[in-house]
């Protein structure tokens, strides 16, 4: 992969040659180096890390860990669309890597608000795959940045944190965490948040691994009088909400690209099954009850492709519609992945209920992705509010 800047496509929907090459590279990497058997192995052998360090090293050598990071900080700078293409391929093989936690969510927060010193110190290490940074955001079972109440008390120009976080992706393998804390106002206020960068081995920080239905990494985080010095605040104290929201919107769109990859994979596998599996002496795909549902799903996926591709290209163009588009995209893909994973399982019949067949793994992953950064209900409400109704 080259480190040259990717030329921005003139259109909203058609990939440039460089982007097509990047997608092909990613497709080959994930299908050959990180097939679904990789996730099964991590799960069945109860891997302590929950990721394959060798795979992550290879991905980083290919430049995948630094796609969003400018060359000045050691990244490959392929843009949001470039990262979206990589995520789509990662979604097809359920690849368990810190790509989303470290190279997307944390990287976007740092790019949005961090000082030059912090960017110099952290981003090159993320791009090289040598440092994993996780974001500790959620405090309940539902995504809701405004509801943050983990307290940040001002002291000596820095902050002292107390409280709990949940659903922290890759928290237990992270070298550093970005903790979103409330330094001003009340739970429910949109503003008054601070973004704090802390070492994983800081005094007063406890990280414990959780197990998730999709066999991917999550953890609980507790802060007890955790001291954050002024130079470790990303951006300025109390002003973290705006850069966080901007980072979250781009991350929501990139997560939707990963969901699209999973949706495509499940549908293609289901179609194959409809053609192979025979009952009553004929392939079950010849039954109209199934044909019509397959066609309706195909139409839905075409719509998803258009929505995701547009949201990615508009992110690269820094459109002022990103918040609306992020909600449109995350809601649509959440609904589509629920539909397609449920239908995929049903059309596989009894064999779909077995652990041997991958369709169940995709369904479990789909539900975690659905909740991550907001479920369809959250995003419909947000879309309506942003549109003024």
């Amino acid at each position: 992969m080259t480190t040259e800047n990717m030329e921005q496509p003139k259109t909203d929907f058609i990939l440039s040659e460089e982007q097509t090459m990047l997608r092909d590279t990613a497709k080959q990497f994930f299908s050959e180096q990180v097939p679904i058997s990789n996730l099964r192995k991590l799960r069945d052998e109860e891997s302590a890390d929950g990721i394959d360090r060798d795979v992550w090293k290879q991905a980083s050598e290919l430049g995948l860990a630094g796609i969003l990071i400018p060359e000045a900080y050691g990244g490959t700078d392929f843009g949001i669309t470039g990262m979206g293409l990589v995520m789509e391929e990662a979604g097809r093989t359920l690849a368990a890597t810190p790509l989303f936690s470290s190279s997307i969510l944390s990287t976007l927060v740092l790019l949005e608000a961090a000082s030059e010193d912090l960017k110099q110190a952290i981003l090159p290490a993320i791009a090289a795959g040598e440092m994993i940074v996780a974001v500790a955001l959620e405090e309940s079972g539902h995504h809701n940045p405004a509801a943050i109440s983990l307290s940040a008390e001002k002291k000596d120009g820095g902050l002292v944190l107390n409280g709990r976080k949940t659903f922290v992706l890759d928290g237990h393998i992270a070298d550093k965490l970005i903790i979103v804390a409330r330094s001003k106002g009340q739970k429910g206020d949109t503003n008054g948040l601070s973004l704090c960068l802390v070492d994983a081995n800081s005094d007063g920080l406890k990280v414990s691994r959780s197990k998730m239905v999709d066999s991917r990494n999550s953890s609980e985080v507790t802060c007890e009088n955790l001291t954050v010095s002024a130079d470790m605040i990303i951006g300025t104290i109390d002003d973290g909400a705006a850069p966080l929201e901007s980072a979250l919107d781009q991350a929501r769109i990139l997560l939707s690209a990963e969901i699209l990859g999973g949706v495509n994979e499940v549908f293609e596998r289901t179609l194959e099954y409809l053609k192979e599996r025979k009952q009553f002496g004929v392939p079950i795909g010849s039954f109209q009850a199934l044909r019509h549902r397959a066609s309706a799903i195909f139409s839905e996926i075409e719509i998803c492709k258009a929505v995701v591709t547009f949201a990615l290209s508009q992110s690269d163009k820094k459109s002022n519609q990103i918040a609306r588009l992020a909600s449109l995209t995350k809601a649509r893909l959440g609904e589509a992945s629920t539909l397609v994973s449920n239908e995929g399982l049903q059309m596989h019949g009894g064999i779909g209920m077995t652990d041997d067949v991958d369709v169940g793994l995709f369904m479990k992953r789909a539900r975690v992705q659905l909740q991550l950064l907001g479920d369809p209900r959250f995003h419909r409400e947000r879309y309506a509010r942003l549109n003024g109704y």
Binding site: F13, V282, S286, H292, A384
Partner: protein, 399 residues
């Protein structure tokens, strides 16, 4: 200045000069410009506008100039459409001849037929209707029974067509007829018939909406000259399928956003009816219903745009028309159901003191929308087409 910039300037100047002021206002239904042998022009500007546009071939902008068309390339055509939209110009001519028959003639007709039929379509002199469906052949269109017998110097046509749009007002009909009864698809031919021929009898059908845009058309011992056959004998199904693609594209783009124009958007309507709470629709579940629909519309529009870009870049589109027809028509039906739900009994009132006409106009449109997923191939037929042509699913199972 590039050629296209010059074209835009000249087009803008010509339109400023030639588009009558009343043709830049919203169009009442009775002023729809259908042309034909017996045209109706409650507003005389309709005729002026049509004739001026036709003289430049701009009623059919992309057709070749030798058949009366505008001879515009796709870029020029896009500019023309943009400039027309810029001044809110009404369409200069509604025509099934332009939308459906013309493209098929350009592809399949003889030179003589093109010379004879295309220029009058461009000029709006001949109004066409489509004779496809029959009482016994709806979704199974290829099962059609209207038969054309070879009588040596002419065909003798007998049968019945149904859902012929505006057949009672049309001058000619393009028809699918059976010329071989021993085979199904390979026994169909494409025939052009003058509605004034003896034995052609169109009768309007009253619909659930109260209007009668469609007819059943009886054909009894109708003598049709043999030169009116388009394409080869028994090869009409190929033409029919191509024409249906044009029709599907037309229906899926139709009615988008109509129905609320005079009422404000669906979201504004919801605020009016149920009130506002912090700037939001006060009814929480209805707000979610409206939001879902608005998201569907935005997503569907993006899908149309994506297909447009892909087509322009030379990627084949094929069965996409079926996706748009399926999704677009189902979405349009949902839209009218939501509007009815929003307006409650006021939208179900057809006449009443103190009732708003714009609101009472919703119910006929709601009823009309039910036909969207039936005409031009039902939703079920579209799903069959996608399953067969795109997904390549095997056939032969029990329905």
């Amino acid at each position: 200045m590039s050629n296209l910039e010059t074209f835009r300037e000249e087009t803008r100047a010509w339109l400023e000069e030639n588009c009558p002021a009343s043709m830049r206002t919203p169009m009442p239904d009775e002023e729809q410009p259908w042309g034909g042998r017996n045209p109706s022009y409650p507003n005389p500007d309709t005729k002026v506008w049509m004739e001026r546009m036709a003289a430049r071939g701009w009623t059919a902008p992309t057709w070749p100039t030798e058949y009366g068309g505008g001879g515009l390339n796709p870029d020029e055509n896009k500019i023309l459409l943009q400039e027309l939209k810029r001044i809110d110009a009404r369409p200069s001519l509604n025509s099934f001849g332009i939308w459906m028959l013309g493209p098929a003639l350009l592809e399949f007709a003889t030179e003589e037929q093109k010379q004879k039929y295309l220029p009058p379509i461009v000029r709006g002199e001949i109004r066409w209707c489509q004779g496809y469906s029959e009482p016994g052949s709806g979704s199974d269109l290829a099962g059609l029974q209207t038969k054309a017998e070879d009588m040596g110097d002419h065909y003798l046509v007998n049968g019945q067509k149904v859902w012929t749009s505006y057949a009672d007002k049309a001058d000619w009909i393009f028809c699918l007829v059976r010329t071989d009864t021993s085979v199904k698809h390979e026994g169909i031919s494409f025939l052009l018939i003058d509605m004034e021929t003896e034995g052609v009898d169109p009768r309007p059908i009253k619909l659930i909406s109260g209007s009668s845009p469609f007819c059943e058309t009886f054909l009894t011992d109708v003598k049709v000259p043999k030169e009116n056959l388009v394409g080869e004998l028994n090869k009409g199904w190929t033409i029919a399928k191509r024409l249906l693609e044009h029709e599907r594209a037309m229906i899926s783009g139709m009615n988008m956003g109509a129905g609320e124009a005079s009422l404000g958007g669906m979201e504004e309507l919801a605020k009016e009816v149920f009130g506002e709470l912090d700037g939001m629709i006060a009814h929480p579940t209805l707000r979610d219903t409206v939001t879902k629909h608005k998201m569907d519309e935005e997503a569907f529009n993006l899908t149309l745009r994506r297909t447009g870009e892909l087509a322009k870049a030379g990627h084949g589109i094929g069965a996409e028309a079926s996706i748009f027809k399926f999704y677009g028509s189902e979405m349009n039906k949902r839209r009218f159901e939501i509007l009815l739900e929003l307006l409650g009994t006021n939208a179900l009132t057809t006449e009443g003191e103190g009732h708003d006409q714009d609101v009472m106009d919703i119910s006929p449109q709601w009823l009309r929308s039910k036909g969207n997923s039936i005409e031009g191939g039902t939703t079920e037929v579209q799903l069959n087409i996608i399953a067969k042509r795109v997904l390549d699913l095997p056939e032969g199972g029990q329905a």
